[in-house]
Structures are given as C-alpha cells and as structure tokens.
Symmetry: C2
Subunit: 759 residues, 2 copies
Amino acid sequence: MKKLLILPFLLSAWMSQAFSQSLPADYVDPFIGTLNYGATNPGAIAPRGMVSVSPFNVAGGGNKHEKDSDWNSTPYWNDNHFMTGFSHVNLSGVGCPDLGAILLMPTTGELNFDPYTYGSTYSEETAKAGYYSVKLDKYNTTAEMTSTIRSGVSKYHFPKGQANVLLNLGLNLTNIEGGMLKINSSTELEGFKMVGGFCYNDPSTTYPVYFVMELSQPADEYGTWKEFKEITGFEKSFAPYNGDLIQSKFNKMHVAGDSIGAYFTYNLEEATDIEVKVGVSYVSIENARENLKAETADKDFADIRTESKATWNNLLSTIEVEGGTHDDKVKFYTALYHTLIHPNTLNDVNGEYPEVGTGNIGKLEAGKSRYTVFSLWDTYRNLHPLMSLIFPQQQSDMASSMVDMYYENGWLPKWELNSTETFTMVGDPAAVVIADTYLRGIQDFDVDGAYEAIMKSAEAGRDEDSFNPIRPGNEDYLSKGYISTEAESKRHNVWGSVSTTLEYNIADYSTAQLAMELGKKDDYKRFMKQSKSYKNLFDKKMNMIRPKNADGSWYEPFDPLSGANFQHTVGYVEGTAWQYAFMVPHDIRNLAKMTGGNKTFISQLQNIFDNDLFDMANEPDIAYPYFFNIVKGEEWRTQKTVNDLVNEHYTTKPEGLPGNDDTGTMSAWLVYSMMGFYPYCPADMDYAITSPIFDKVTIHLDNKYYSGEKIEITAERDSENSIYIDQLNVNGKAHNSYFIDHSKLVNGAKLEFKLKDSK
Amino acid sequence: MKKLLILPFLLSAWMSQAFSQSLPADYVDPFIGTLNYGATNPGAIAPRGMVSVSPFNVAGGGNKHEKDSDWNSTPYWNDNHFMTGFSHVNLSGVGCPDLGAILLMPTTGELNFDPYTYGSTYSEETAKAGYYSVKLDKYNTTAEMTSTIRSGVSKYHFPKGQANVLLNLGLNLTNIEGGMLKINSSTELEGFKMVGGFCYNDPSTTYPVYFVMELSQPADEYGTWKEFKEITGFEKSFAPYNGDLIQSKFNKMHVAGDSIGAYFTYNLEEATDIEVKVGVSYVSIENARENLKAETADKDFADIRTESKATWNNLLSTIEVEGGTHDDKVKFYTALYHTLIHPNTLNDVNGEYPEVGTGNIGKLEAGKSRYTVFSLWDTYRNLHPLMSLIFPQQQSDMASSMVDMYYENGWLPKWELNSTETFTMVGDPAAVVIADTYLRGIQDFDVDGAYEAIMKSAEAGRDEDSFNPIRPGNEDYLSKGYISTEAESKRHNVWGSVSTTLEYNIADYSTAQLAMELGKKDDYKRFMKQSKSYKNLFDKKMNMIRPKNADGSWYEPFDPLSGANFQHTVGYVEGTAWQYAFMVPHDIRNLAKMTGGNKTFISQLQNIFDNDLFDMANEPDIAYPYFFNIVKGEEWRTQKTVNDLVNEHYTTKPEGLPGNDDTGTMSAWLVYSMMGFYPYCPADMDYAITSPIFDKVTIHLDNKYYSGEKIEITAERDSENSIYIDQLNVNGKAHNSYFIDHSKLVNGAKLEFKLKDSK
C-alpha cells in the first residue's frame, strides 16, 4: 500500500526535475555534521528509520575522539581513523550518548573477537542518503550498507580466503551492558541488546532492542563468544583463559551476558559478496523477524538501496529548489534530510510498540505511525512547524504519539527516547508543539486529550505535595509568576530559574492560542496573562531579564556573560543572560518597549551579534536573527545576519553544522532560512521573512491538510551579492510586511522577491 | 500414569513397614557429606531430580568455605554460617564447581540487592529427603523448600511488614556469568542463567538453564536490577551510581547481563506465607513453564512435600533393612538416597532435551528418561551395577541415554554434564557400564549401537591423524600394549600413563565379556588379550606396576608414595602407585601370582591398609578390601577391613562421607558393603561377599528384568561384635565360596549368614 502511494509522488518529482542533472537525494551529504559536535553520522538510514547502519569509529586504535570521553554522543567522527564496526541503532545530532549498538564487522583471516584489535583503518568512504560504503584496509574488504525503516542491510565484498561476519553485543556507544543472542542456523541469529541510560540521567531506564540477523548464504562455521569474567582468587590459576573472550563453536544455545558476540565464517574460494540483513524491533524478536520479512524479503542489497534512494527523493522533492550554488543545494537538502531522521518510527510493521511507563505493548491503527526521539526543548522551535508545513501527515502522527504518551505515562513527553521518558532539559515544550500543530491546520489528532494533557502539565505542582515532572518549577511559577533562584536548589531541582520561567511563558502563550481556537476564552485570558510573567524578571535598572530570589530581590552576583559553553550558572540553561535576553518571541514587541524602545532594542540585539554574544550552536537565541524584523526599517539586519550565519556556520564540510544538530533543529533553521522565512515564534502563525538563497523554491503542499497545491518563492537578484530585499510581491501584489501568515502560504502562495546588493 | 504406578509400590512398602516406627525416608539425613569435601548438599530434591533447592552459604559473611576458593564444588558447607539464598540447580558430590545457580532469597524491610550484605546468619536447620527448612535470623523468616523432578517449591513464612522475594542471577557457585530475565506479571517471571565451564576444563561449554518462577500471590511491587558496570573514564563523574546495582521499578522488559536480578515485594499487614515455584528446563522457557504446570499446578507446598516424601519412600523401600543400629539405618538409607541423585533427569515432561554436541533438541519416546551427569570414571565401579540390580529400568534408560549421546556426539560419554561432554578424567568407562548393564540382564537398549560406539572408542586414535577424545592414549596402547610416559606430555595429553593403561584394560575386559555374550568370539579373544596388557608395566624386580617409557625402559625416578592427596605424579591419576597396584580386578588372580603368589599378595595388600596407603576417599583402590576374598582362608580380612572402613569413614555426621561422594559412588560402596556383597569387578558377574551389617536385608526385584521376587539376606550373630562369617547358606544350602553370581541373586535368593566374633 505504502509503496503504491509513494510511486506517483516520486514520478512527479522525477518528471519535474527531468531536465536537471541531479535529484534532491544526490545533494545529500551525510558527512555534514560529523565534526564540530554536530553529532550526526553518515550511516545509511531511511526517512524516520528506526534503524540506521552507521560506521562506528569511536573505540580504540588511537582515535582522536573516543567513546566514554568528552561526553561523546555519536558513533562516528570524521577525523577519526579506526573503525570497529557498523552499529544498527543510532541517534543523530543529540548531545548525550545512547544507542550505537548491535555492531556488525566484516573481517578476514583468523577469528579475533576483541574489537580493539579487530578494528581497522579505512579508506574510500562514500555516504549518500540511504547508503554508506567504506573499504576496511586491514581486510581488503569493502562494506556497503543501506536500510529500510526497520532493517539494516549490508553487503561485504570479501576477498578469497577466510571471511568472517562478527556481531558484537559487548561494545556500544555507552557503558550500558548486557545482551542476549541465539544462533538459529548457519544463516540466522536472533537476540537483543540492552541500551538506554540516556545522559546518565537515570540508569534504571535501560531496555532491550531486539533484532534478527540473516545472512545471504550459509556460513561454513559459526559460533558465539562470551567474556570470561576475570577472577582473582584461588581458582585463577586453573583458568588460563581468565578474562578472555571465549569462543563456542557451533553453539546454537542462548547466550547472555555483558560482553557477548557471534561469528559466521566462510571459507571463500573466490572473492564473494555476502549480504547481511538485520531487522530490529523494540517489542520482541518475533516482531523484529516480521519487520525484516515485511521490508526485505525477496529483495537484495541493490533493490533496497534503490528503494531507499527513491523514498528519499520522493520526500526531499517536497521542496524543490533552483538556482543557488551546488553547495547551497548540498547544504539545503542535507539539512532537509537531517529533519527527516528524528523523531523516528518506533512501531513495528504490525503496529505494535512499547508504551511509555506501562510495560505494555500498544498497537496502532493501520496506516498510523508511532514516533519516538522527541527532543522537544530543541524541536518545538522550528522542526515541528516545518514538519507541519511540509509533512503534515507525519506531524499529525507525531502529535498523536505525544497524546498517546500522555495516556500511557500520565504526562506529555519532554525528552522521550524509545518510550523511556528521560525528562531531560526544561520547559513545557509538548504544549507548544501541540498548540502550534493545531494552529497550523493539523487537527486530526485527539485534541481533547491533548488539551487535557496540556492542562495537567500547566496545573500540577502548585503545592509541595503535588508532583510535576514536566514543570517542576510550577510551585513558584504559579504563585510568584516567576521561578526563584532558590528553586534551583530546592526539592524541585529546577534547572535555570530564568530560562525555565521563559519556557513556561512560551508554553502558556501557545496554550492560550490553542484555547482561543478551541473557544476556551477564560483559559485564553489566563494563559495569555501568565505568558507575560517574564516581566517579573525584568530589571529596569539593568534593562535586562535576570535571576530573582524568592523574596523579590535580585540574585547577586549577576554576570550576563556567565553560562557560555555549557558552564553552569544560576538562572540559565545552557546559555548566558544575553542568549536568553530576548527569548520572549511571543511578546517581543513589548519587551522591545520595556528595553527602552526600538532603538535601544535594535542596538542591544545588534550588539549581541557584533560582540560574539550570540550562540548559533544552541537553541535559546536561535530566533534572534529574525527579531530585527519587528522594527520597521531594520529588517535588512535580519537579512544580513541570517545570510552571514548561513554562510559562516553552515558549510558542506563535515564541520558544516554549528554544533549538535539537536535532532534536526539546527538543520530546520537552515531549511527555513535558505527559503526566506522562519517561524520566529511557535504558535504564532506569522513567519518572519528574510531573503531567500535560491532563485526558486517550490514547496509542494499536502492536499489532505492544505488547500493550496504549492508555495512558490522566486527571487530576482541584481547580482550574486544581492542579499537584501528590495521588494516582495505575494500573489502578484506588493507585500508591505516582513511577516507573512501561515494560512496565506498554505492556501497556495506565490512570493516574488526582488533582491538588491545593499540595504 | 507414573503416579498410579508408584502408589501400589508405595502401599506395599508401607504395609511391610507397618509396624516399624519409621519409613526409609525418615532415616535419610541429607547433612551427611556436607563436610569433609563430601560435596553433597542438604537441599530438597526428588529422586533423580533436574532441580534441587539447596541452601547456598558459600558467598561472603566471613564464611569458612567460600566459592572460588579451595576448588569449592558445593553450594553448602555445614560449618559455614552465612546464607545468601537457595540455588535451584546443583550438583551433588562432585569435585569441581558448576551450577549452584538461580538463587532465591527471602528478605524483609528495605530492598538490598547485594548478596554479600543481604545474606543472613541462620538457625533451626532441618533436612529430610525432599525437604529442607531454615530460619534466616536477620529476617525472622523461616524458609521451607521441597521439589518435584523439574520444579523447586519454596514457602517463606514472612513476618508482618515489607517482605521481599529476591531472584539473583548474578551470583552462582562458579564465575560463569550471564543471564536473562523478564517479569511477566506480579506473580510470574521467566528467564535463563548461563552455567557450565565445569572443572575450568573448557570455558566454551557454557549453556543456559531456563526457568519460570511463579508466586502464590501478586506482589505489591516488583522490578529488576542490573549492575551498572564501573566506568573509570571521563564520564565517571556523571554517573554517581557508577558500579551500583540499579533498580528498575515495575520493569517488565527483558533484562540481560552479567549481574542482574529481580524482586517481588509485599507489604504484609500480618505474618504471611508466600510460596514460590520455579520450573526448570534445559530446552526452553516454554518447556520450563510446561514442566512447572505439569508437576505443580493445583498443588501447594504441602502437597508437593507429601508427594516427594512418598516418592522417596517408594524408591528407598526397594531395599528394606532390619536390625542394625539406628545409625546404621541412617547411614544406609542416606547412602541409598545419594545413589538416587545423579545421574539425574535431563528431559522435560514433554520428552525434549538438549542433545550433546548438535545444538538440536532431541525428543524421547513416552515413558523414557534422558539422564545426565555421568561421572563415569567414578560410577562405573559400583553405582551402575547397583542401579542394574535395584532400579534396572533406570539403568536401562541410563544405557539408552549413553547410546543416544554416541549418536549425537559421535562418542559415548566420559564425564557428561547437562549435554556438555567435559571429557574429564581418564579411561573408557562407558564401555564398562554398557557391558556390565547388558551382562546383568538389562538388554532393552540399543545394543548394536552401543557395541558400535564401544568399538569406535576402542579403535580410534591408532595413528597420529585419528582423533579419540575417549582414549587419547590409544596410539601407544594399541601399538605397545601400554601407554608410555611420553604420552603424558605429547599431543594426546594423556593423564597418568599407568592409570590410563589399567583403565583401558578394564574396559577391554568388559568389552570382551559383552562380545562373548553377543557371540563375537574374535572380538572376545582380542579384547581379553588386550585386557591383560598391564603386564607390560609390571616390573618383576620391584614386584609392582610402574610407569614405562616409550623405549621400554622404566621411568625414573619412581616413588610409589608419590601422587597422594591429588598431587600430580607421572604415571598416575589422583593416586599413588600403591593405590593402582592392584587395580586389575578382572585379572587379580593372575596379578597375585605375578606378585609372587598368594602369600606375597596378601602381605602387600594388608600392608596397604596397615600403613595408611589406602585411600577410601577416591576410586582407584575402592575395591581393594574385597580382594582378600581371592585367597582361600584370607576372606576374614575382607570382612574385617570392610567393617573397619564402614565404621571409620562413614558416620551419621556431616563429615560422614570419606570425601567427594562422586555422584553416589562412595555411597554405593557403602550400600553394598552394609548388605554383605560387592561387585568387585565390573562386567564380572561375581559379587565378593562380606559380612552384612544388618540382621535382615530384603531387596525387592523388578520383575520386568528379573525372575526373582526378592533377595533376602539374613544374619545371625553371636554378639554385636560378630563381624566374621562363620557360615553362609544360599537357598538353604551351604555356599562354599566368598563369591556369588549375579544371576543366582536375581533369580530370587535367600542368603543366610551366621556370623561370629573372631576370625
């Protein structure tokens, strides 16, 4: 069914690009973000894939970046050189280590089960959307990999001689140990690997990821290995293998332990290709097998690679761009690709998925997706608005997933990861995402349930006896209108009293907008009022928002530069006072007034960019470049700043993301910014406008949700240096604003920019 | 079906004992053998049970005997004092550590997952056949346990308050780690534990033991724990729980790892009994559940305890004894009980069992048993002959199990343990057992297959290219007639060239006897000739068997006292030259001649006993006391020596076994010796006679195999000091021999002894 739906879209995309040289997926460079803490990986992944097959080069061999060091959160660094396998479940662009597990490795010659010595240097790396290949120097073996949503598929080009396929469950990105496996035959293995413990927040949230592995031809020998725990006592002398990885040839029994693995060996009389398919499930081994069968049966590596590329082209073609440089297209489509990785699919092909918190297995209606990996403190700002615009069906399922999590766990998600709620970061971002989704016109989810859930997060925790894991600062917030610095050390363990107050304000604004749409006027009024409580933290003397104590006095000392580079500082979450100074997008015009009027506001804002106080690598100030638009005559600063940031922080090199991609948030910023508009305030339907990078952008709209067929953006420019907006016509008429409403766009709009070289 | 068959037997046993105070099982004292390296345990076990529930007191708390020290091979020492739980799979009376796993522990109060601190001192221990109970001082909780063949059943008498049932898969007798578990509900858990690596011989022979655990009432809370591996690097500071046992409340997902466990907690408003049933299988979790259901559904602890006791009484009543002291009966029935522990049942109730070496699951015909734990170097000497006599159906199934192992693994068993072949110890004992079984009249097994298997072990390894794991010394043995000392260090890694030559001789003698019975006269001649090749090692100058080099010279230095106390010495296996000097039971009369005639022989033999050269604690010389019978007029020495050994080495105290029970071999020696006859030479149908301890012994015969109904042995004695045979009538006629043929006994014989005080 799904395939049949995809093909017509694909064909149309193909046809519209018939005369261009490349299709969108050809521009995707998965190496972008694999340095500079981008934390993306070049592994093969299908859109929103549960599985990716990523090179794993962070264990041993004298690598520059090593797992367990420097808060390493990615299985791959582009400047490492020693590869120890290919991991099948991975996170992309996150700031904490997790997953990076189910490691396959092709080797040749004598068996060696120690990843720190069976690893190899490598060369001839290639990465494309849905495809990765590399040559392992030590083994003269080229490994190619592709994937479906729930299965990884690898092809190893072995030379003549002994060839080995190793599965290592004893090595993964984190130190969460434990796994189980069972070889069923010379071509099949099943098992699970323990993962979890994200961010070291809660070591109790470990859980199994199940898998079934199939080989394209029967192995001549197979077996398992298991580490014999090093013993130190009397009996040590009787165990010459003390501490070794012990091989069990032809072992078909279950093996479990912290450090275990399996091997399949071939005695090849000539160079031979061996294909390995790994189906994954978070529900059961049976489901992993069903996923594998449904997605890969009767297909070989080449078929699946072709299918993956077609799927990517189909989705990426939702936005077609013309003009711009080749590098611009690479940056754009790679960013769009990054927004299609997380949230990713959690449900199996049969609709089953692990619920949050219940220990039960949920089951979806046919055609629905359960999504996971909700890094909402990041993604509420732009990724979800972007998904609402271009992939509304996906965003609808994401909203439904979030509401289902509420029913399961009693709370909306905050930082949900494979149905474990890590409650990482701050604020009440799910409320923002749900309100924004609804307001953009996606309303086919359980809105009543969602509203109930939002109300619960907004209300709970009013007194000491009531618990609120979403808004631990609610006691202060609801009684004082701000969170006091004392709450940072009190029972609620609030992180960043100012930051968290501002996050609640944004959530309350979003909630108010949703309430208004739903006809709940009292709620609208109340939450609108609450949303402005940041004013309690505005120090008129300093002309700045700053931390406040419970008794109403300002917290001292106050250093607006403190908190950069993830240093801990009272009042702020991963940022300085400057990076939060204007994080009131929903009331930015009032804040500008309070700051002393437009002139002072512009001066302060420009000062941030001019004096390196802006952090492109993290979310709090990410909308700042668009705030110049609120002051008439100063919009050129947005155009200039955005253009500079796009060129300075985003490149086609591995270091071409400003920092952690934050599950696509940094990339979504780029996608919008290169198209010429940005949702500067979630749940506000106005986009801020800037100058597009491309000559033409066509956004194909989903007619299930939007009445328009497409949004067309064109730009005529005096020269290649034309970054300033001279004129904008919308649907043939002059548009006298630097904002444009979402509904205008999705009704099918034509935006014609005329760009000039100077402001 | 089985139960229906058991009941009539039981009733008859009951009735015949109707006027005595106690039934046989009442005399069983499972504490015997729990000191002095007896290595038995007082746990609850059903006859030939796959499961036993044994107290586990060898981990922490300042115990005298600790796991991993001093080659500790038992979960329980009677002089320890700190208990850490109750293990559900255990070996009894072996010399190497294995199993001692699936540990349950009742605790009260706050949860603690560290066995080294949740352990407790204990008191009020009781052990009976099929029953054990103890009070855990720290928790004021009495724990009772009983079992079926494949299920352990425990009953914990908890006081009011928080009560916890802990399942620990991170602790077991050995250092084999790894397990998996999953809580299915507040009353059920399933999983498996890795065990194996017996004797540290081969760490690759680890394998899972599956189980399902059921609680009699739903727990108020449950969860799992898992050790977080201690990390030392950069990220250590982020994990304050580094190295801890991490609790996951209400976790119903799979957990796997080296150190994992689960808990079920009750908030008891009054003192409450909680019952826990654990079903076990070596095939699968499904089979463990089926076993549990088939054996325990609708039965509570009391039912199963009653059933277990009845089963024990039924089997033990096969031999009824009268007269003798209470202690004599305790020694006798405890010894008989010990012969009914190993070999034990391996197959599940549905007939499935893991095959040896294939990785496949075998399936029995209905009514058959697959046995395991064949410590054949020990048991061929007396345990299997005893089983042939009193439980011929069991011995038939044991022979069938052994032949099936040949079909599966290509070789007969040597030291088989839960379908792993450890190839421990020396010789070719399976050939002896099979021949002996057949000759005793048990012929309803696959004799052709058995003969084929015996021939393979006898023939293979003739040259360097051919492999023989049963007889690694065959190259020398078949070409030279003896194994040279050089073979001890050569590729074959023979242990004890003299000992192993003698073992092959005994096997060849047995094979010859079987060949004769099967009409294979050529084989008979050849193996009879081979069986006397020990003569090549007889040094006429020294009048003694001694190690010989490949070139025919004697190995120097030669110290006939070397090799005691398990010291390594060239030529001998766990013994001295004296302890092997007469280990030629099949040709003992000729050896006596070679030694210089009867007088010298008697003198040398007596010297062994007089000068502490005899070792009652190990097998090689175990038949020596009966060898006096071969010289007319010297038989009183057998009567005297056996009587002394029975009194000196066997008592009713925990130290009451001479050493490792060797899966019942030491006990079988006692059973025979107390009845007045002993199979001094396996595959020779003559028993050597000595004076019985009891006034009357009645052996009920199985009419499926034997024509006689019973063997009746009576003894009239002048006084309680009458240990010498004055006269013996068999079936009313004077018996002028100190040997008696097996067939005479099993046709139904009445032996009337008249005993006197002096020789």
